[in-house]
Every structure is written in C-alpha cells, then in structure tokens.
Amino acid sequence: MRSVAPVLTVLAVIVGLWYLAVAPMNIRVALNQAERAGAEIVPEGAVQRRQTSVWRLMAQNTAFVSEGYALERPRLPTPVQVGEELWKTTGKMVMRGRAWSKRSLIYHGWITLQSTLWGFFLGTAVGIIGAVAIVYSRVADMSLMPWAIISQTVPIVALAPMIIVLTSQIGVEGRGLPKAIISAYLCFFPVLVGMVKGLRSPGPSQLDLLKTYNATGLQTFLKLRLPASVPYLFTSLKVGIAAALVGTIVGELPTGAISGLGARILIGDQFGAPLAIWSALFAAAILAGVLVTLLDVAQRVTLRRMGMAT
C-alpha cells in the first residue's frame, strides 16, 4: 500500500509526458490537414515542411498546434482519445446491450482470452510434466533442458502458417487451436523452469528425512516436492500467463486471425485506424493486468491457506 502514491505519481508523469509528446508528433499531420482545408501554413507544402524541424513548425504555426490533439488519424493519439475509443468499444456497447457485437472489444477480448487460457493450460501442463520428467530422470534432464532453451529462440511466428495448415490437415478447423499452440509454446518455458526449480527446492536434509521414514517415490512427490514447489509454481504461472497472452496476440498476427485483439491491431493497421490499434493495445494491457492480478490473488490465498504467506 505504501507504493500507491508513488505509482500514481509516476503514472501522472507518464501521462503528462505523453500529452507533451502529442504536439510534436502530430504537428505535420495537423498542418497538412489544415493546409488542405485552405489555411495559410509556413512553409507552404508538405514537401517543404519535411525539411523543417517539428519545433520550428510548432513555433511558426502556433495556431494549429492544438489541432494535433483532435486528429482523426493521429500518429500519436492523446490518452483521452484512447480512453474514449476504449469506452466506445466496451462500456458504451454494453450499455446498448451489444457487448457481443463484433465491433466490441469485449467480444474480441473474449476470443483472445479463450486462446490465452487454452494456451495457458496446455503450456502449464506441458511445463509441469516436463519438469517432473526432468527432476526424476537424468536423461530427460540432460537432453530436454538445452532444447527447451533452444525452442524459445525459434521465431514462433514463422511456424504459425505451417501450424495452421497442419492442424487443418489433421482435421481441426478454426484459428483457435493454432493460436493456443503458439501461446502454449511461449508459456511452457517459464513454467518448466520455475517448476524444475520448485521441485528441486527441498534440501537434501528434507529428502533424507523422508528416506528415514522409508517413504515411497510417490509419497516423496506428494508430501514434499509438490507442496514445496507451490510458491515457485505461482510465480511462474504469473509469468506464464503473460507469455501466453503475448503468444496469442503474436499468433493472431500471422495466422490472419479475424477476431481477437491481435486481429484488431492488424485490422487497425490495415485500415489506417490508429485509434483501433491503440485501444486494442490498451485492452490487451488491461487483460494482462487482470489475469496476472487474479493469479496473484490466488497465490496469496493459497499460500496463506498453506501457512506459507510471506
């Protein structure tokens, strides 16, 4: 709670800087627009102006600086513009009962969320199973671990089209599965690394203790390794779900997804609608925030229940 004030202050500074940046970023567009509308601009002509610095342009055309804050296709929108667009595509649509309209970010967010969750479950499952294999088998440890690292250096976007074709060849339709696979691909790694650490976290004396009880391997796993790994699990789940979201959005770019936040970014780009890009970006940020916060709460509750609250 001590950090509420500092965080708010830093946020205020960021928003302030953002506002200041809007003027220079948008001045050229604003001037071009004004000139087309018949206003007098110095220097004349977009080509001439390209040689002039934005600061000069702002100084010479002070009257038009403010126009940069109300452009329809700004290079950099103002926070208020983004907020309005977000509201228009979410809250307002809900109030009109059109939350599930294809124009609503709630609908697109839901599509992205679905893939993210599928990817997250798939990735977490693979990560945990891999970690168990690595902890219990020397061969798996030696052969799997380096390849897990290498796998993360493969540009997954490159595989996306092939994943689509392959999944459709084995009879799975729709873009959901390929997206989920990509998102699982990015998600499994942090979970694997965290779980290996967690399952190995019991010290030799804790393991020896169970040996003195003549405990079986399964008992050791259930009573020691698993509970000991819970804090690590949650920490890596938080990283994992963020990675899964990144994966879904990255997956939505090259899979030519037609719905989802990544698709909104793509379409905003294709149709030259910067506000659509920005609002989708912020929606993704909010989604990430919500997901991570949920896991954080789950972590606190679980750890408190387990008596391991920190």
């Binding site: 950090s3 052969s143 493969v154 938080k238």
Partner: protein, 281 residues
Amino acid sequence: MMWLAGALVFWACAWAGNVALANSPWSERLGVRLAVPLLFGVTLLVLWEGLVRAFGVSPVILPPPSAVAQTFANSTDILWQDFQQTVLKGALRGYVIGALAAFCTAILIDRSVFLTRGLLPIGNFVAALPIVGIAPILVNWFGFDWQSKAAVVVVMVFFPILVNTVQGLGQSDAMSRDLMRTYAASYPQTLLKLRLPAALPFIFNGLKIATTLALIGAIVAEYFGSPTRGMGFRISTGVGSLSIDLVWAEIAVAAIVGTAFYGVVSWLEARFTFWHPSQRQ
C-alpha cells in the same frame, strides 16, 4: 513404411544410448553433457525426416530436414544478407540501445526511493504486456528500414532489463551497506564497489530474457513492412511463394543465432558473476 520403421528404430537406439550415457559414471564429463542433448536433437531430426517421408507429406507443407539442409547450403548469400539486416542491424542495435537505456534509467531512479517504488510495479506490469503489438505503430513512426525494428526491440527489452537492474541494485544486504557506511563511503563509491557487483546476477538475468525477446521483436516487426531483405521478410514471403524449405532455413538461422546469443550472454555471466553460488556448483 521403411522410413517410419527406420526412424523409430533409430529413436529407440538413440534413447537407449542416452540412458546409458546419462547413467554412466562419466555423465559429468563435458563430452557426455554435450553428446546427450546433441543425440536427442539428431533423433528429432531423424524422426522428422522419417515421418515426412513415410507419410509423403508435401514439401510445400513440411519439407524434410535434408531438403532444408540443402537449401541452407545453397542460399548462404541470402541468409547472410537477411542475418545482417535483422540480427546485426535490427535486433543487436536495438538490444544494445535498450539495455543501455534501461541501465541508465535504473541508476537514475535508484537514487530515489519514491521513483523506485513507483516505477517498479509499472515496469513489472509493462514487461508482461504483449509489446509486439506496438510494431505497426513503430513502423509507421520510424519507417521501414532497420530503425523501426530496432525501436521495437528497444521497447521490448527495456522493461525486463530495467526491472531486473533496479531489483538487483536493491539486492545488496543491509550488512554490506552498513559496512560501507562505517567507511563513510560516498554514493558513487557504494554504487561502484558494492551495489553494481551485487546487482550483476540480476542484470544478467534481464539480459538473458531480453536476448530471445530481441529476436522475436525484430522478426515480427518485419511483418508490418520492411525492405526486401531480412529474416522476417524472407519468412513471410517464403510462405507466400511456397519456398517452405527456405523458411525453415531461416528458422534454423534464427535458432542458431538465438542460441549463440544466449550462449554469449551466459558466458559473459559466468565470467562476471563467477563468485555467485549459482555459478559455482
């Protein structure tokens, strides 16, 4: 079916070999530690080759590794050109700029407890965002060439490195800091002789995470516009013109480069943090 059977037999043998190696008394030797994962990788390739051939998968969908290797050997000039464009110009420059910027920011905000407290949660949050989404915006701002790719990379690597560095700078224990106080050491002295060295393991952690991000960022950004070279360009056009073998060659380059990049940073880490318990076992 011959291919399938052969691949499966090879798989079984290689697995048995690996089990034997891993449980042998020499399993700690460097040679074995390299051989086991290598054999595993070779097994994957053999399985791939066998499955593709056995099921007659069309080369425009999934070419066998042998075809990829051939294309790789035949297209080294293209691959080299793309490597220069995407890795040397886009990813590496962005990585260096982003890392330096994050590092300097960390040292600046570190002096203020207030800023640190305010920026850390925000930094942590931003580091978890799908920042690749800004690629179209940055391509619009910085143009088509490597500058926009570097810009995407800068933004992507900035926050993980910042967060790790700030956390690292807070790592020195109270006792070590008190020790510096008893010497009446100045701020720069404390920073240089205590907090930076103590932060190094964390800084390197951030740098390692950033290596893979840098490559992904530079490649994805090329999807939104690029000159007619670059790994992302080649991959996306390759898929469109059914040169899937070339696509896989580029993927191989990316994996090799990414692994090498990661390896170099890990090596530097081992050199600079040799004293840390995690480097000592």
